[in-house]
Symmetry: C2
Subunit: 445 residues, 2 copies
Amino acid sequence: MTNSARLVIRNVTAVDPGGTHTTILHNRDILIEGNRISRLTAAGQTHAAEAGYIIDGTGMVALPGLINTHAHLAMVLFRGAAEDVTIGSWFNDFIWPMESNLAPDDVYWGAMLAAAEMIESGVTTVADHYFMMDAVAEAMASSGLRAHLAPTLFGRDLRTELNASAEVISRRQGAGDGRIRMWLGPHSTYLCPPEFLREVAAEAKRTGLGVHIHVSETAEQVQASLTAHGLTPPAHMEQLALMAVPMIAGHAAHATEGDIAIFARHGVGVSHCPKTFLKLAAGIAPVVAMRQAGVAVGLGSDGAASNNTIDIFEQMRLAAELQKHEQKDATVLKLDDALAMATVEGARVVRQEQEIGRLAPGYLADVILVRMDGTHMQPVHDVRAALVYSARASDVDTVIVNGQVLMEGRRLRTIDKAQVLKEVTGRANRLAEKGHGRRLAEYPV
Amino acid sequence: MTNSARLVIRNVTAVDPGGTHTTILHNRDILIEGNRISRLTAAGQTHAAEAGYIIDGTGMVALPGLINTHAHLAMVLFRGAAEDVTIGSWFNDFIWPMESNLAPDDVYWGAMLAAAEMIESGVTTVADHYFMMDAVAEAMASSGLRAHLAPTLFGRDLRTELNASAEVISRRQGAGDGRIRMWLGPHSTYLCPPEFLREVAAEAKRTGLGVHIHVSETAEQVQASLTAHGLTPPAHMEQLALMAVPMIAGHAAHATEGDIAIFARHGVGVSHCPKTFLKLAAGIAPVVAMRQAGVAVGLGSDGAASNNTIDIFEQMRLAAELQKHEQKDATVLKLDDALAMATVEGARVVRQEQEIGRLAPGYLADVILVRMDGTHMQPVHDVRAALVYSARASDVDTVIVNGQVLMEGRRLRTIDKAQVLKEVTGRANRLAEKGHGRRLAEYPV
């Protein structure tokens, strides 16, 4: 089905994570017209004539699609290739030897696998940060997902990199019926020198683009910034005028109190990627303090080479669990907060909070249906608890983006999964042989 | 299918987590005769005549069934009923008002739901700690699972409780073709007075039973024990001779260095339940130190009222992630260790390491098959990484216990899931109305 005129989800529990309060409406019909949610009514109040395509939501919960605010999609090609090693060894001994051999077609097929995984996991919007971004944009456009794409600037050659970036951005901005939005993607303050970042800030200001950048991922990065500039990475970026434009700060695991005040002052959105932090022993971001300061904190998968999956349900659960643990207080980061981070707060991070992240009339029709009949979900004392602490990505039954059905009854509509898995296996084998000299375990798909 | 004479799993990747090293054998046939694994051969080497029932394992990994070393199964009835509250409020305001209204039939149907959830999640053995244990034993026997059952002793009336416990134990010991084994279940050192525990120790010694008990779940418990007895809970239990018999120590989140030495000296097995610790902000057990000291550390789900699911894949992943985080060292609790905790180490905890937890000839035929073709699993650079960091419980395709197929192609063979969900919903509604005055969100099943 392509973007149909009308679509009705019948007899569903509509869950709208407004922010501090989650609205739960049982037995509702959701009417979608074009690419927007037009009405929520009592079940059965939409007439057959106006219904168009009908999806039966009986026994399911409708949620706004989940938002992945920081990813390196094509790194699914390296899933599980570097385990139980330090961050330095992870990159130098395993990832870069493979990554440096990537061709644009590899990135395209990696992004297609990631797209399939995201749709199957209920992710409808992703903010990606990678190179060969034309290939990623192609994959996002054809998969039907919504994407905020930042071509990585490594901080080596200002003019060459900025020009190449500008070309990709002009080719892809607004593609896929407006689903694709472009950002500038300076890698980090530790790879990009100050004069480079100052020019990126000027370019962002001139073009109206936002900046997606890695921030304070490790304690060592913060220390190095203090040594080199006398400032933490956020304070350094503020000084370079990088925060005069919209910013997605990836990770921010080691944000200080002062950094949090800087984020709040400039409306910087933070992408929290807890599984990566844990696996690489990099420390945990002070999410509760950030949220108390009014900072938008969304959830991110980071790359599958460190996170292993692109599963925002898993990140949501970990985010809540870890803040309770770190704060030694079981009452912090409550169910409503966790659901908000995965949806409406993620929308704030990518600066689309007027259009996505809510299940309400007027919002873009990015909607997922989650089955509630699993033995791990029942009985349902609290719908929110079932979604945050019991649900698995595999409970997602149906995914709609921009009014288009991308998955129904767990069957993908826009992606040929068998072809993607075949392409990816071949390419991962080539990269593995070049990178670490071993072929992969192959399973028939 | 009942316990067939012969069963062959064809063309599977056999994964045997031996402990420090995981053996991975591709393209194998696994021959099961009666209730035991008899042979692993190259694929196609088992002849049709000797094959009996055939399961095609193509594209799948065979693992020993996962072992859940500490549970309160019937608490699935309270799943999601008490969220974002302190431990005290969790028990007094939410759980006990419902739990105190439980009838044996509620416990039976709760345990049946838990059995269905465990089978669907690849758990083949569970150590349960609860009251009305006849009902749990019935559910375990009819579901086909392997179970170590400890009727809870609350420490109030020694003779009455020990006599009642002895009766349940004599009725159920060895039931279900030997799948059911009974333990003594004193609740904890904070509920059971010293003289009570001394008598339990004597009874255990006399009968040859082991003891399953809660140990040092919170810092407050440790402090209270130090105040009352001048000893940590493990040191107190050692003094009471409770460790002269096999012991499962549930939680042990706040085990000290001295406690770890005590566990090691007496061969105490620890059940690590990380999701509960995080959700209730109770602290994290020093798993790495315990394992270095030679203590067997298995994984436990605890009750679904605090953990929300009975998912050992989730506990395995959390266990590894959290030790890396707590130790600030990404190289600790490696893939092999995590897989061992879920299988062979769990077998040591329940004192069945000669019979379960390995995928090897002579071991009891408790085997699960995991699909490897998911978009979140591919490509497979490392089979172990796919199992530890990517796999979801929903990837479990087939479950065999004691040579009997309990699930195949995700269809349960021994449990009528629709009936269980119907019974559970009605009962949870009654308990919720009595306990917190609200009815549940009901979803057609």
